[in-house]
């Protein structure tokens, strides 16, 4: 009982603090010149990703802690935390995921939620619905859109956790005792399901069947995308599937684009914007996610100092493009040449790929999607939220 009271009180406290935080930020927001000047500056000096994200977070009102309090403080999650602690010392991937959730939360994990909030703010209230519902707007974002942003993060994280299940019959002796890995699987499934159940609960509360359908189909896409990713990731002799860039794009849309695209669309639906606005939001989400993914695929090839032996994904955009330019046979030959005693020399293969056209055309592809995202944004009225969305695109399409 006392715990419940505590939770209730703390949630109330956070509710209050969220509005006070907004007040704290609001002077910053009022001086739009700041945002404007920063934007002007951004075209000259490289805006760093973290800077873009933290500026964007200010715009949406309060720093984004998407995992709802309800979820974070529940018995189930503390139960999970207790069990995850037991896994320390084993090699179950759930540990890495859990660590990532804590350490990496500034970078990619909450990006989806942030984009949903920004696009909600950029679109504003629709003309149809200007009279009602305004009371639950904070910083120009409806509370239902905030819930949606949270649901988007929950779904993304759930699949992230489920991605980390291991096949018990493929374990190496170096992985540690079978029992530990079994236990890790169990906890990973349960915690992923728990996050999904919370997402379902949140969706039901939105009371909008179209939004439920959109997010359910996004989950369906995401599962398929992850399934492709899993089945292409581990292959003998490092020979990858012969997929062209168009198949790669389809699969990447499923695994990386669909959730963001459909969540952006759903955010418009929640504010009762028409089909055209919904489509533009979808396009922004889709193309931004694609260029973001290509950007991260490119990192091993464009970073100044990559530790040479660092492995990279053989199904990443630059490698797939490289393969397409080269032809299947020469590619298999190159992989063979980069292998020594059954181990792949990534440093050598990286140099080979860098010498080809794969990297530059991946950069082009990244910019192509970035431009598409910017074009979609043009249909939204100019605002600081729209600028932040543009800056996110600038940050992922800049290679220097």
């Amino acid at each position: 009982m006392s715990l419940q009271q505590l939770l209730l009180r703390s949630s109330r406290y956070l509710g209050a603090s969220s509005s006070s935080r907004r007040l704290w930020w609001s002077p910053l927001l009022d001086t739009t010149s700041k945002v404007g000047s920063w934007r002007g500056q951004s075209s000259r000096s490289p805006a760093h990703w973290n800077q873009v994200v933290s500026e964007a977070e200010k715009i949406v009102g309060y720093p984004t802690s998407f995992m709802s309090l309800r979820c974070l403080l529940s018995d189930e999650l503390s139960n999970i935390a207790m069990h995850v602690r037991k896994l320390v010392g084993t090699r179950h991937p759930l540990l890495t995921t859990a660590r990532g959730l804590v350490l990496d939360s500034r970078n990619n994990l909450q990006l989806r939620g942030l984009v949903v909030l920004l696009i909600s703010k950029a679109a504003g209230p629709s003309s149809v619905d200007a009279s009602c519902q305004n009371y639950d707007m904070v910083s120009g974002i409806y509370s239902c859109q905030r819930s949606l942003a949270e649901i988007t993060e929950l779904i993304h994280t759930a699949l992230l956790v489920h991605r980390g299940i291991v096949n018990l019959n493929e374990l190496q002796s170096s992985d540690g005792p079978l029992k530990d890995m079994q236990f890790g699987n169990k906890i990973a499934i349960l915690s992923g399901d728990f996050l999904l159940a919370n997402a379902c609960h949140g969706l039901a509360l939105l009371q909008n069947t179209k939004v439920v359908e959109l997010l359910a189909s996004a989950l369906m896409d995401l599962v398929q995308g992850v399934f492709h990713e899993n089945s292409t990731s581990t292959k003998e002799n490092y020979i990858t599937d012969d997929i062209g860039i168009s198949t790669w794009k389809e699969q990447t849309f499923l695994s990386h684009g669909a959730l963001l695209a459909k969540s952006c669309q759903a955010a418009m639906e929640l504010a009762k914007h028409d089909a055209e606005v919904q489509d533009m939001a979808f396009q922004y989400g889709k193309h931004m996610a694609m260029s973001h993914k290509i950007n991260s695929d490119l990192q091993p090839f464009v970073k100044e100092k990559t530790s040479d032996s660092m492995a990279f994904n053989l199904n990443s955009a630059p490698v797939v493009l490289h393969q397409e330019f080269l032809g299947r046979e020469s590619w298999i030959k190159q992989i063979g040449e980069a292998q020594e005693k059954g181990r792949l020399d990534y440093a050598k293969l990286r140099e080979t790929i860098k010498a080809g056209k794969g990297v530059t055309s991946a950069i082009d592809l990244c910019r192509y999607h970035g431009n598409k995202a910017l074009v979609a944004l043009e249909s939204f009225p100019p605002s600081e939220a729209r600028s932040a969305l543009e800056n996110i695109v600038f940050a992922v399409t800049r290679f220097s």
Binding site: Q4, E76, V166, Q224, S231
Partner: protein
């Protein structure tokens, strides 16, 4: 004595209902005042329950001797005198033709392997217990309300969705339990590996959510979302064990409700909402589903001790091997307190499983659990009897009895 038993039973079921007053349950929330007072009240019966349990268990045994056959006989004779025997499965199946084909259509995707995996259990060999209850309940509610008796398309969708949610949870449960066979065939995780199996479960769940959203009814969405939450919470309850002997039984019943009965109760409620606007009917449908669901699981737990693995299509004593103390064990523990230690260590020492099994078979744990299941069935029959008479309603009454007599 009987009244004492019933008080305990009622407290218990009320606690289950009151602790999770989900959205769209006006009956339950209303009956206990505002939400906050409901929260305060739930503590009370909980402690009463703990206190009364010790004294109640011996009573159960004695009543069960006394009543063992009479209630079943009386409710049978009331509804079945002079009526032709209708097999509920035959009656329900009329509205379920093409059920599995339709489910497979929901799962249509281009990824062939994922498709094959998610269709694996929709092979038409399952009992389709949940869809049968759902369509029978749909017709019973439609007739009660004076609608056309036919099952509406949206109500039939609920039958599909219930089976899909059930199957998705089976796929995940089998990975969690590291099970190797189900319904007489290998489990998905054994054939394709855990990494892919978990995604197949997620995929079936997402397809079910899509179908649910397409019905286009926000109340129905909330009702079935409750099921998904309960399934996960039930799995969490299974993870922990209660040290306090008396809490153990409440814990077990709560888990049983969440893992099995919630799906049946809430899908019954969903079809009643679609077929009839009267909240009283919704509550009847919910209570019927809940009580039948708990009885169903109690019998399932009994069969884990009494049936041979060939009949069940899955290995027996499975629960003990997983470290779970189900109804028969908890009752047996009343007679053989030395089982306490085994329960606490989740039957993890060599020989524990066999010894516990012997204790259970020597005790009257099996009879006690069966008797408890009967009580839940009677409650279900009492609830459903409030609906206007129809062949489907009577089939639901009959179905609750087949739950008790099934051997697989």
């Amino acid at each position: 004595m009987a009244s004492c038993w019933w008080r305990w039973r009622r407290c218990c079921s009320w606690r289950l209902a009151a602790r999770r007053p989900g959205p769209g349950c006006p009956g339950r929330v209303g009956s206990s005042g505002t939400l906050s007072t409901a929260g305060a009240y739930t503590r009370m019966p909980y402690f009463n329950l703990v206190k009364s349990l010790k004294s109640t268990f011996p009573n159960v045994y004695r009543i069960s001797r006394f009543h063992h056959t009479t209630p079943v006989a009386c409710c049978c004779s009331k509804t079945w005198s002079g009526e032709k025997y209708i097999d509920p499965f035959k009656l329900g199946w009329r509205d379920l033709k093409g059920l599995y084909e339709d489910i497979r259509k929901e799962l249509f995707i281009s990824t062939t392997e994922l498709k094959e995996m998610s269709e694996y259990y929709f092979d038409g060999r399952g009992k389709a217990f949940r869809p049968i209850i759902v369509v029978l309940m749909a017709r019973a509610c439609n007739i009660h309300h004076g609608n056309s008796r036919d099952v509406q398309a949206s109500q039939r969708s609920i039958a599909l969705i219930a089976e899909m949610i059930h199957t998705a949870s089976l796929v995940h449960d089998d990975i969690i339990d590291d099970a190797s066979s189900r319904r007489g065939k290998h489990t998905v995780n054994k054939i394709w590996g855990e990494k892919k199996a978990v995604l197949a479960g997620d995929f079936i769940l997402s397809a079910a959510s899509m179908a649910l959203a397409r019905i286009g009814h926000t109340t129905v969405i909330s009702i079935l979302t409750q099921v998904i939450e309960d399934l996960v919470r039930g799995e969490f309850l299974q993870l922990g064990s209660k040290e306090n002997e008396n809490e153990r039984f409440a814990h077990y019943l709560e888990k049983t409700f969440k893992k099995t009965a919630s799906l049946i109760a809430n899908s019954c409620k969903a079809v009643s909402v679609l077929g009839c606007p009267d909240p009283v009917v919704h509550e009847i449908a919910y209570q019927y589903g809940k009580n039948v669901g708990i009885a169903f699981q109690l019998i399932d737990d009994v069969l884990d001790f009494t049936s041979c693995s060939h009949q069940m299509g899955k290995p027996t004593s499975a629960d003990l091997k997983l470290g779970l103390a189900t109804g028969p064990v908890l009752f047996a523990c009343q007679q053989f307190p030395e089982m306490n230690a085994m329960i606490m260590r989740r039957f993890s020492l060599p020989g524990d499983v066999d010894r516990a099994r012997q204790y259970v078979l020597q005790s009257d744990g099996v009879q006690q659990t069966t008797y408890l299941a009967q009580q839940y069935c009677h409650k279900a029959v009492r609830e459903i009897s409030k609906l206007r008479s129809s062949p489907e309603r009577d089939a639901l009454i009959h179905l609750s009895e087949t739950v008790l007599t099934r051997d697989k």
